[in-house]
């Protein structure tokens, strides 16, 4: 068997693929953050909680109402999106235009409250959610066993990421969005309801997080604290990609998944730190991030 740096090539290919899969999660989550920051200038620390709500909603809807995975894939993000819009309407709107730190603290507080309430009700051991039957099993690729579900995660995440990028960068709706946040008074003069646009954008951003949550439900422990772990990593990804850069968030997400995967092979104890190491280096060389516009 051929070896690369003392690791069999087959194992390495497996790790690269795993990296891409995890990267797909990072991409989805950081995309939502980038949309919210890029268009609304809100630092959304409730993003992890929204990811968690997506996963929790999937499990709870299944247990209580028998709603299956495919329906949850649409319904859960919509429900969480509505929660997001309620938060935007009642809280975030009141601090619009203030320093970023206000939105950071406000959303962080909201996230802690949501987490606390759900912990009280559901505990922390995790809720059980079994995978849809069609995804059970997997295929042997020769260098690794690829569960069908992980393959689906890559496809679903990439489709949604590309769709979002296309909508914001290439469509008329996207141009309204970008213009509305650039100069809201002017856009209002053109008869566009900017406050509604802002609500919808925030709702859409958290929908992306909830969508990632639904994708995560069958493979990770679904607990009220699941979002708090991933949140910081995802913020690092966004910073590396360049705050607010939509395409940058997607590419960086996948790239960081791969780098993390390789670290897990060569030196596992560093795997939780490597993304932050990259962040430090990137900030020193390109303070606005890999894909950010130089200020």
């Amino acid at each position: 068997m051929s070896m690369i740096f003392g690791v069999p090539a087959a194992v390495l290919s497996g790790q690269l693929l795993i990296g891409v899969i995890n990267g797909a999660f990072y991409a989805l989550l950081s995309l939502g953050l980038a949309v919210i920051f890029g268009l609304l200038k809100i630092i959304n620390f409730a993003h992890g909680a929204m990811y968690m709500l997506g996963a929790m909603a999937t499990v709870i809807m299944f247990d209580a109402l028998g709603i299956n995975y495919w329906v949850a894939l649409f319904v859960a993000p919509v429900l969480v999106g509505i929660v997001g819009m309620v938060i935007e309407y009642f809280f975030l709107r009141r601090i619009a235009g203030q320093d970023h730190i206000y939105s950071l603290l406000l959303t962080f507080g909201i996230a802690l409250m949501i987490q606390g309430v759900l912990t009280n009700i559901y505990g922390v051991s995790g809720l059980r959610y079994s995978m849809p039957d069609v995804f059970k099993g997997g295929v042997n690729l020769g260098f690794m066993f690829l569960p069908y579900y992980r393959a689906w995660v890559i496809v679903a995440a990439l489709v949604v990421c590309f769709g979002t990028w296309f909508m914001i960068e290439k469509t008329k709706l996207g141009s309204y969005l970008r213009a509305g946040t650039e100069d809201s008074q002017l856009m209002q003069g053109f008869g566009i309801n900017v406050p509604l646009l802002v609500s919808l954008t925030y709702g859409f951003g958290v929908m992306l997080a909830a969508f990632a949550g639904v994708l995560a439900a069958p493979i990770y422990s679904v607990t009220p604290v699941m979002g708090s772990h991933i949140l910081i990593v995802v913020f690092a990804v966004v910073v590396i990609g360049g705050m607010g850069s939509i395409g940058g968030a997607i590419i960086t997400g996948i790239l960081m998944g791969i780098i993390e995967g390789l670290t897990k092979t060569f030196y596992p104890p560093a795997s939780s730190a490597v993304i932050f190491l990259v962040m430090v280096v990137v900030l020193m060389i390109r303070p606005s991030g890999l894909f950010g516009k130089e200020a």
Binding site: G19, S125, P268, P269
Partner: protein
């Protein structure tokens, strides 16, 4: 006059002696503090339901000891030795707490038992894992009740090696507890003629185990051992099931697994998992009877820690009643002299190092076909006798053990 003097002196002396020997219950109240992680990683194995278990014990005892009433206070230690220390200090120094029960994270227990020792109060530790609690960190002021890392590392690995699982690969949580567990497992596996092919130190916590499972799979080891706990263990098991580890013939060995973890995983993901436990709710009529009452109160089946909290609180109250005292040394001495026979343990005894030794059990998680309900999770495959399960006193480093 001399006569009078003599009489007076002896009266005073005997009054003093009576006061000394017949210590009574301070403030006419037996005050118990329940300290546990009420909201974090370890919430479900003890947490709020552990407080319920303690309250059940007090209610079953009758709510009072003689004429003294029994009171409970509780606090969330947030798994922080600092938070826990200041709470326990306040309890014992200002609020008249006589005994502290629960106690989960090992770091919290090690910190708070020092304070109990300074103030000569008693701790009944039910939730912690580290075996050093009754070894290097033993005090005359606490008893370690349910299980420890030594007992857990003896049970599962020995059984699996004997069944033919010779080569091992260990996934280790990268902090003190994981390292200790890895060392214990290595010792037991090698002593039984098995070998360790390799290990990975993974960050704590790790949400995604796929990379590590893939490496463990590639190692070709017979057994993949999980020297971690809580969410790390459940995540690793879920991922192993997804990647077809057990179907491909490798065995997963969980080292610190609670009923709440297996319940969260479900039999489909956890089937065949071997683990060591100090107690299981569905062992006999006595355990079932108590567990039914617990379930009515809480909606869940009790873990071994919940049962241990009930049992240790009950034993404590019995000791206070029998000795008529809530003085920690009097009570601890009584508990050491009287074997424990209740729904939690048969012939359990408290050793001088504070270790409560009792039979442990090797369990195997049922398959979905074998399981008749959401809590019908374990098959008890072997009883590990008390003397085999816990570290022998001859190997003890505890200062209380004679000869040390």
């Amino acid at each position: 006059m001399t006569m009078m003097k003599k009489l007076l002196t002896s009266a005073v002396a005997s009054a003093l002696m009576v006061g000394g020997a017949q210590a009574e219950i301070s403030d006419k109240t037996v005050k118990i503090g329940y300290l546990a992680d009420m909201s974090g990683t370890y919430r479900d194995l003890a947490g709020p339901n552990g407080l319920k278990a303690m309250e059940m014990a007090i209610a079953d005892f009758g709510g009072k000891v003689g004429s003294a009433k029994v009171e409970v206070v509780s606090a969330d230690d947030r798994n922080s030795p600092d938070v826990a220390s200041s709470t326990v200090r306040r309890w014992v120094e200002n609020e008249g707490v006589d005994m502290v029960g629960g106690m989960v994270a090992s770091s919290v227990t090690i910190a708070t038992t020092k304070i109990l020792e300074e103030n000569n109060k008693l701790g009944l530790v039910s939730g912690s894992a580290a075996s050093s609690i009754t070894d290097a960190h033993c005090t005359p002021n606490h008893i370690h009740y349910v299980y420890d890392t030594y007992a857990l590392s003896i049970g599962t690995p020995t059984a699996i090696v004997k069944e033919g699982g010779k080569s091992w690969y260990i996934l280790t949580a990268d902090y003190a507890f994981g390292h200790a567990m890895e060392a214990d497992v290595t010792r037991v596996v090698e002593a039984n003629g098995g070998e360790i092919l390799g290990s990975i130190r993974h960050p704590f916590p790790t949400p995604d185990f796929s990379s590590f499972i893939l490496q463990a799979q590639a190692s070709g080891a017979d057994v993949i051992a999980l020297a971690n706990a809580g969410a790390d263990t459940t995540n690793a098991i879920t991922t192993a099931a997804e990647f077809g580890v057990t179907q491909a013939g490798q065995t997963i060995a969980g080292l610190v697994v609670f009923l709440s973890d297996v319940h969260a995983l479900g039999t489909e993901a956890a089937q065949g998992l071997q683990l060591t436990t100090g107690w299981y709710w569905d062992m006999n009529d006595e355990t079932r009877e108590w567990s039914d009452r617990f379930m009515e109160e809480t909606g869940a089946r009790p873990t071994m820690v919940h049962a241990g909290i009930y049992s240790s609180t009950m034993q404590y109250l019995k000791a206070v009643e029998a000795t008529g005292s809530d003085d920690s040394q009097t009570v601890r001495k009584y508990m050491m002299e009287h074997p424990i026979n209740d729904m939690f343990a048969k012939n359990g005894r408290v050793r001088e190092d504070g270790r409560m030794v009792h039979d442990m059990y090797l369990a195997k998680v049922k398959t979905p076909e074998e399981s008749t309900g959401e809590w019908d999770l374990y098959d008890i495959v072997r009883t590990i006798p008390a003397d085999e399960a816990f570290r022998p006193l001859s190997e003890s480093k505890c200062k209380l053990v004679s000869g040390n």
